[in-house]
Amino acid sequence: MARTIIPFGPQHPVFPEPLHLKLVLEDEIVKEAVPALGYVHRGLEMLADIRDYHQMIQICERVCGICSTIHAQCYCQGIEELMGIEVPARAKFLRVIWAEIHRVQSHLLWLGLFADAFGFESLFMQCWKIRERVMDINEATGGNRVNVSVNIIGGVKRDLAPDMTRWILSELDLVEQEVKRLEKVLLHDYTVKKRTVGKGVLTKDQALELGAVGPTLRGSGVAQDIRQLGYAAYGDLSYTPVVAKDGDAYSRNRVRFLETYQAIALVREAISKLPPGEISVKVKGKPEGEIVSRVEQPRGELMYYIKGNGKKNLDRLRIRTPTFANIPPLLSMLPGIELADVPVIVLSIDPCISCTER
């Protein structure tokens, strides 16, 4: 019997990014899904060979435009640890503030795209409308809407003035208010639930076995989050991971939605506890040795493996992004679902291909 074979992507409007899935369908039920990557692969890890370790910050930031600041943060933390640099406390808090603002932005972006995946256009528009406020915060504080570019080795380059923090808080209040209005839709609407509940189930065991991270892991009922390690200033902030237990698209949606609140709360707390003082220290020497640096991205655990050899160019820089880890779980979710649910399921892990392929 002939089956329908569909090239899903590389150019497909549901995914903003080129990801290719060869789907084999029968009456629109997916029988087989094979991914093809490499459409965004640039090979930027290798740029470490020709750029010095300071310049690599800019490049790490451009691994991905959605989680750029946290990439830089992870990289800088790694190098700092390698070189034994103690970052000023204020810088640590500032890093948290920017990271969490980024998380809000990323989650809102995802909520919109997710809504779009099941054809809820007005919800998509609403999420992105709210997100614009966060983008404004980025632009006002970092000088660019996307690549905030504040992290440097030894701290951060920009400071937040008190009136700026006040403004941020008031903007975030508005954001929170508007996000609250979407709660009834994203978490309780009949049609949304119909399209997400029970779709793409990943059990707790599967999630751990396949190496899922971030909301994908937490959506399956595992309370694990790198922020629990207390890097940067997270140790000083009250933080508990958001968990949902069903492991379906809805649970992941729920985790991300609630994390949006949480991130806003973390920014508030960080601003209220923001210590005075320097924002960076001078860096001397060259990195040497190897280190694994981990932070929590909006999509989950990000890992940098850095190996320095005392020269200005690193020996090896390896980036393992959360989506890279979430792809095997995704592949296990796809067979057996409807074609119409493919975008929903794929988006439910919040794929970021540019992160994945670098």
Partner: protein, 129 residues
Amino acid sequence: MTEGIIVFNMTPNVLRNFFSKSATRLYPKETRETFGNVRGELYNKIEACIFCRTCARKCPSQCITVDTKEATWQCDPFVCVYCGVCVENCPKKCLYQKNEYRKPAIEKEVIFMKGEIKKEKTEEDQQEK
């Protein structure tokens, strides 16, 4: 948090949108003041430049070419990622970024500037200090 399944939960939101002014900024017609420290178009006050090549070395995308002998400073705005590293590192603070982005172009362009070779380089440096 009210559990339970209800349809049309989006209605209050869309109705609120419907009865309030749209969020749209009518961009080319209305422009918004940009935020203060936005990293936009890159410029060089060429009079002050000493062609020390710091910017060219530090630039992560290697888009600046400085010729010390000829006293030229050249930047490819299509390669520049507007990161501001050069601005931060320029010893003469002659580089600066506008708050606006560069306008779209229909042809490739480069920023080419020719300055004068500073003879009293050391002297000026001392003055600075």
